[in-house]
């Protein structure tokens, strides 16, 4: 083993004997970088929501783990993700959200790209007023596209290009929630918010996956959703989370509710499920709305949580929608002291990753085991290449 590598041997042991990930996985920039490749670039990570680019030509520059990306809806209406740089001198193409009316023009030497990424103009490339040159094959110099897929309103990307197709990689989860595979309507500006938290992104996943903390951290739930009303969701190597049998719809002053998604089975009358699609998207489904929290890792100890709520119909009651967003924000804010507290705790040098409750921490341990497995795989690949 490389001396700089962390010891993950205990993490993948059975839960009653396992330890959590070592401190370095929450604090060390080198491990953050290792995980960036093994967990976030090699898999299907959440980047944004399709609602960020609602109209043709809408373009939004994004930074994903330091990589400049461009989210755009092309002329055919397809959402695409490109590396946000010109193939000429690597200049950033789009530096603020805007509408691309025709072509994406590089602000440096004005090379132009179609919204599908084709290089369509190379002004003066062969000399003044001469826009072609034998050494410049436009067909080979289109924008560098990042594989992307839309599901649950989220734009998922596979930076490495090596993951199985999204529908293959996530086939089990897609089947589990097939009843929600229908148009989801983003609630709009009042249904999205960001939470900046001082913790490693994995701590947000770990907290989200388990129901163990609910009665302590979210006591407001105790009145109707008790700990025993919850169940674990565990699919090794794929996803983890929790479900409840007693979801209660939010109601307005006049007892109004959101419209249900059509065609749901009876189970969903009172059930709700909360799952992390590994690595970084926290999803929730209910009979009348869904949400997605995209975790944007900004460093070993800093994460931005991008929260988006979706509904079954394009139009919903304004007041009810605002109340629902407020209610969820209160819940998510209640979790901040926990994830930030655990983050500070990761600087205790003797901490061994912690012990799991064999009864209650199964989904969290499953996530740790997935992290360790992916890292072990990457380390083996690196070693084999040497």
């Amino acid at each position: 083993m490389d001396q700089s590598q962390t010891d993950l041997s205990n993490v993948r042991r059975p839960i009653a004997e396992a330890n959590g990930l070592p401190n370095a996985h929450y604090t060390d920039p080198a491990v953050f970088d290792e995980e960036k490749h093994a967990l976030l670039y090699d898999g299907w990570s959440g980047l944004a929501v399709a609602a960020d680019v609602p109209e043709i030509g809408d373009a939004v520059p994004l930074n994903f783990l330091g990589m400049p990306l461009l989210l755009i809806r092309d002329r055919q209406g397809q959402v695409r993700v490109f590396q946000n740089i010109c193939r000429h001198r690597g200049m950033i193409l789009v530096d603020a959200p805007r509408k691309i009316e025709g072509a994406i023009r590089c602000p440096y030497h004005s090379w132009c790209y179609s919204t599908e990424g084709r290089l369509v103009s190379t002004p003066h490339v062969g000399g003044p007023g001469q826009n072609k040159h034998d050494g410049i094959d436009r067909a080979l110099l289109g924008l560098m596209e990042v594989r992307s897929h839309i599901w649950m309103g989220v734009v998922w990307i596979n930076v490495s290009g090596t993951a199985p197709d999204f529908t293959v990689a996530n086939a089990d989860l897609l089947a589990r929630w097939a009843e929600f595979d229908r148009p989801l309507y983003h609630g709009g500006a009042d249904s999205t918010f960001k939470l900046e938290v001082n913790c490693n992104w994995k701590l947000a996943v770990e907290n989200y996956c388990e129901s163990y903390h609910l009665p302590w951290v979210h006591p407001g739930l105790n009145s109707y959703s008790r700990l025993e009303d919850h169940y674990h969701i565990e699919q090794a190597g794929l996803y983890a989370g929790q479900g409840t049998f007693v979801y209660r719809q939010i109601r307005g002053e006049g007892d109004e509710v959101f419209p249900d998604f059509e065609g749901l089975s009876d189970k969903w009358d009172t059930a709700a499920e909360y799952i992390t699609a590994f690595p970084n998207v926290l999803l929730g489904v209910h009979r009348d709305h869904t949400f997605a929290i995209i975790l944007e890792p900004q460093g070993p100890e800093k994460t931005c949580e991008h929260v988006h709520l979706f509904y079954a119909t394009p139009q919903t009651d304004d007041d009810l929608r605002a109340r629902n967003a407020k209610q969820w924000k209160e819940v998510f804010v209640e979790d901040i002291f926990v994830v930030e507290g655990m983050q500070r705790g990761r600087h205790a040098v003797s901490f061994d990753g912690g012990r799991f409750s064999p009864a209650m921490d199964g989904p969290t341990h499953l996530f740790h085991a997935w992290v360790a497995g992916r890292l072990d795989h990457q380390r083996a690949m690196v070693q084999a290449a040497e």
Binding site: G102, A103, H124, Q130
Partner: protein, 80 residues
């Protein structure tokens, strides 16, 4: 009317791209020399392309006929 150069500079200062398309086209039309005409047409074309302006295809065709722009293999996108 102000001289063309002054109007061009004003359009650049105002980032008025529609005006830039028209003014660079005007500059091309006034040029007797092929390289200068190609230069101005190129600028008119690029700004038209960026805007998705209808003049783009005609400007491009002029450049193609001058041997300064490769002919289109296909036309499937207004940004081409």
């Amino acid at each position: 009317m102000k001289p063309l150069e002054a109007r061009l500079l004003a359009a650049h200062a105002a980032d008025d791209r529609e005006a830039l398309v028209a003014l660079y086209t005007e500059a091309a039309d006034q040029s007797d020399e092929a390289d200068a005409r190609g230069f101005f047409l190129t600028h008119a074309y690029v700004f038209a392309l960026e805007l998705g302006a209808p003049q783009a295809s005609a400007l491009r065709q002029r450049l193609v006929e001058m041997g300064r722009e490769p002919p289109l293999q296909e036309v499937s996108d207004k940004s081409r």
